[in-house]
Amino acid sequence: MTIGLGHFLALGAVLFCIGLYGVLAKRNAIIILMAIELMFNAVNVTLVAFSRFITPNLLTGQVFAIFVITVAAAEAAVGLGIIICLYRHRETVDAEQFNLMKW
């Protein structure tokens, strides 16, 4: 029973698809942001798994994961700021109601 690269790739793929379902199927903008964070995590698992099993003596995959985490933190801060601002103006966080720019 050896845990190899494939196991970690499968875990990353499952997490990514759960996040994808959440982004597409949810109404609440905060849940959509949470699902995006799940997708970031899935990508990080995949990057670190490649780093561990394909180039174990270089740490390039882990450096990429650090950049992904940084961008995810920036995205969460701006995204939640936008949601709070929208709530102040529209009194809802339902993504279906934000259709001002829809044609």
Partner: protein, 163 residues
């Protein structure tokens, strides 16, 4: 990684992570979703430990399970109308089919590819080598990402300011 104990730990951690990720998208209570998200982040940190990425595991716990979780819970407290929190829209089944197809494609791609696996032993401690990499080879992206963080911070303050 052939130790049966490690394999057992991997399956346990993977099951916990996937189950709590499912909890995030399936529960109707948005506060439970945030708590499930914290469990899922902690599970991913454990996966990083299994992958010999000790520094990243610590960063994952600090930034995701600490900072981002608190940020999300604050946003929930400030914006919720809890009666209609976690409900799905009418694209629920198409979204499920699309996600399932995506999973099939990803798994097929991962199993069909022959990966150039390396048999070298992983580094014992990654913190010092990571620091050296970030300030030598990757110093330009490192600085750019710092500017991005400052811009995002100022942007978040400006956007959510009351006026």
């Amino acid at each position: 990684m052939s130790d049966p104990v490690l394999a057992g730990v991997f399956y346990l951690v993977a099951a916990l992570t996937v189950a709590s990720a499912l909890g995030v998208v399936l529960t109707r209570n948005i506060l439970y979703a945030a708590l499930f998200l914290v469990v899922s982040f902690a599970g991913v940190a454990a996966v990083f430990v299994l992958l010999n990425a000790d520094f990243l595991a610590a960063v994952q716990l600090l930034i995701y399970a600490g900072a981002i979780a608190v940020l999300i819970i604050f946003a929930i407290m400030m914006t919720q109308n809890p009666v209609k929190a976690g409900i799905s829209n009418e694209q629920r089944w198409p979204a499920f089919i699309l996600a399932a197809l995506m999973l099939v494609v990803l798994l097929a791609g991962a199993t069909a590819t022959v990966w150039p696996l390396s048999s070298l032993a992983p580094l014992e401690a990654t913190t010092a080598p990571l620091g050296k990499l970030l300030l030598n080879e990757f110093v330009l992206p490192f600085e750019v990402v710092s500017v991005l963080l400052v811009a995002a911070m100022i942007g978040a303050i400006v956007i959510s300011r009351e006026d």
